[in-house]
């Protein structure tokens, strides 16, 4: 699944493929919030298809609605209008069927549970037998390299380790779709790069589609098959850029060497320019990056 060829142009994306094949299909989606100062258009006219096994990043400045879009896919919020299906079902049905795993910017671990018990939480809630649960948790902790911390409590771990526990938890039920809302946002740069490399490997291993919200351009470029560039007020998709990284034909090939490859920097530049195009007018022709976007 992971070697599926990503759609190459934004135009191709709007052509209706077999919708039930797609992990996420969004058509004409709008989301408005009622606030004290009036109606806020968080998202307007969003069209996006995420194929099964595809890694798609949503990037844009603060307030562009990228997190809102992810929350709508997760059925944590309800769209005002438009069409949204997850594996051909409504978002609510997909949530009830547990078709996706989710990780937030905060690890959101339960402080009274050990690391192992935190990872086991979704399995427990969905009635997996305790023997099967133990095996699965052991596998997951090994995958994120935290086996020896299984009996620790979250506050005994560093931020990076807590986030790895949260990622292990999101993978517990082998979801075909992973939703991640800036999961590495609070981490230091070195931990972050390691986590990115791990995530690329995990996504390739499991063949899951990933919708990844970030405000870091290099992160989006390194991880994604396609980068969706969004602009704020109202939240719109301003560009969808397929990543052409010479070093990486398959996702599993992506490693730290890629971060220094020229194709990587070309893609970073392309995303940066797309962000700039969406964020400013002619009066300010050549800033290096859009405001509010992390260019590290």
């Amino acid at each position: 699944m992971s070697d599926q060829i990503p759609t190459t142009t934004p135009a191709a994306d709007t052509m209706t493929t077999d919708v039930s094949d797609a992990a996420v299909a969004v058509r004409g989606l709008n989301k408005q919030f009622q606030t004290a100062s009036g109606i806020v258009h968080a998202l307007e006219g969003i069209d996006l298809t995420v194929e099964a096994g595809e890694f798609v990043s949503l990037i844009g400045p603060s307030g562009c609605g990228k997190s809102t879009l992810m929350r709508l896919i997760a059925d944590l919020d309800v769209p005002t209008s438009g069409e949204l299906t997850v594996f051909g079902k409504t978002a609510t049905q997909a949530r009830l069927d547990q078709d996706y795993g989710i990780a937030f910017q905060q690890a959101g671990l339960l402080p009274w549970r050990t690391v192992a018990a935190n990872v086991a939480l979704p399995l427990e809630l969905h009635g997996v037998a305790s023997a099967a649960r133990r095996t699965r948790v052991a596998d997951l902790l090994e995958m994120v390299g935290l086996t020896e911390f299984a009996d620790r409590f979250p506050d005994q771990l560093s931020g990076g380790m807590q986030q790895r526990v949260a990622i292990a938890r999101s993978l517990a039920e082998q979801p075909r779709l992973l939703l991640m809302d800036e999961p590495f946002g609070a981490l230091d740069e070195m931990t972050r790069e390691k986590m990115q490399t791990d995530l690329v490997r995990i996504a390739a291993d499991t063949g899951a589609a990933v919708v990844f919200v970030t405000h870091s351009i290099p992160e989006a470029v390194f991880l994604s098959d396609r980068v969706v560039v969004m602009s704020p007020r109202p939240g719109r998709i301003s560009d969808i850029i397929p990543m052409r990284l010479d070093a990486a034909d398959g996702r599993e090939e992506r490693d730290d060497d890629l971060r220094e490859a020229s194709s990587f920097f070309e893609m970073v530049t392309e995303v940066r320019e797309a962000l700039h195009g969406g964020a400013s007018d002619a009066e300010n022709p050549a800033p290096r990056a859009a405001r509010g976007v992390d260019t590290r």
Binding site: L76, L125, M190
Partner: protein, 281 residues
């Protein structure tokens, strides 16, 4: 691996945190016991001195030795009175805790229930519950302990309800989102998230209520009902001018209140021991 060593360093720093100044931990823990005991002995000595040498009337203030003598002489009565009052308090505390937790869960779940109950809770919080004692005594008959138990239950209900309700509102948005993403049922939500989050608040409520339960059960005995509890024995001893004996019963009441407080404190420590206080990210 970088992150692991960092975490170990953090853990090391946490457990290795030392006192900035003063005695060694061992000396300090000994002092924590020795200091108040010493003060107690000094106070008792001064008290004894005032009564025997200073000439304070034995009616006004019985000496510690005479109180002790009464305590020994009436030991079986003291024990049975303590057991009786203790049972009333314990029953009241248990029923009050259960009611408080259940009704707080209802109020947290349905806003309308919260709004409906708010004035009643406020009334219960400000009215001296023992004022209900004569009413309840005549309602349930002069030979029933029920009135006293009911008073202890109502008195302990209030702090437990208020604390638990507050605890139920401490769940974090990220945890609620997570449970929703897992399509958790409301029962699972309560068991896995809301109750554990509220646990420290509930236990604090029970600890506060434990003292209130003893005080209420004891004071309720002043207002009639069957004899035999610590409260009624304090009243009758004082009425018959047996002040040393009254003081002996007062001592037993203090011990009973302390017992309740320490037991609930131990429960709180036991349950929360493995729950880190620091929030996880």
């Amino acid at each position: 691996m970088t992150t692991n060593t960092t975490a170990n360093a953090i853990i090391g720093a946490g457990t290795g945190a030392t006192r900035t100044k003063g005695w060694s931990p061992r000396t300090e823990s000994i002092l924590r016991v020795v200091a108040p005991v010493t003060l107690g002995i000094i106070v008792l000595a001064i008290w004894q001195f005032l009564v025997t040498v200073g000439g304070v009337s034995d009616y006004l203030l019985p000496s510690p030795t005479s109180i002790m003598a009464e305590l020994v002489a009436y030991w079986p009565a003291v024990v049975s009175a303590t057991v009786l009052t203790g049972t009333n308090s314990l029953l009241g505390l248990l029923v009050g805790s259960l009611l408080g937790i259940i009704l707080a869960a209802v109020a947290a779940r349905w806003r309308i229930a919260d709004q409906m109950s708010a004035p009643i809770i406020a009334a219960l919080a400000v009215v001296p519950i023992v004022a209900l004692a004569p009413v309840l005594n005549s309602m349930f008959g002069a030979d029933s302990q029920f009135g006293r138990q009911a008073i202890a239950a109502i008195a302990s209900f209030v702090p437990i309800f208020i604390n638990t309700l507050r605890g139920f509102r401490q769940t974090r948005p990220v945890h609620r989102d997570l449970m929703k993403a897992y399509a958790a049922s409301s029962g699972q939500m309560l068991r896995s998230l809301t109750l554990p989050t509220a646990r420290p608040f509930i236990l604090t409520g029970i600890r506060i209520a434990s003292s209130l339960a003893v005080i209420s059960a004891l004071v309720a005995e002043y207002f009639g009902g069957p004899r035999g509890g610590l409260g009624s024995l304090i009243a009758t001893s004082a009425a018959s001018s047996a002040y040393s004996r009254a003081w002996a019963y007062v001592g037993a009441s203090i011990a009973l209140g302390l017992l309740f407080y320490l037991a609930t404190l131990a429960l709180e420590r036991l349950v929360l021991r493995r729950v880190p206080t620091g929030g996880s990210r």
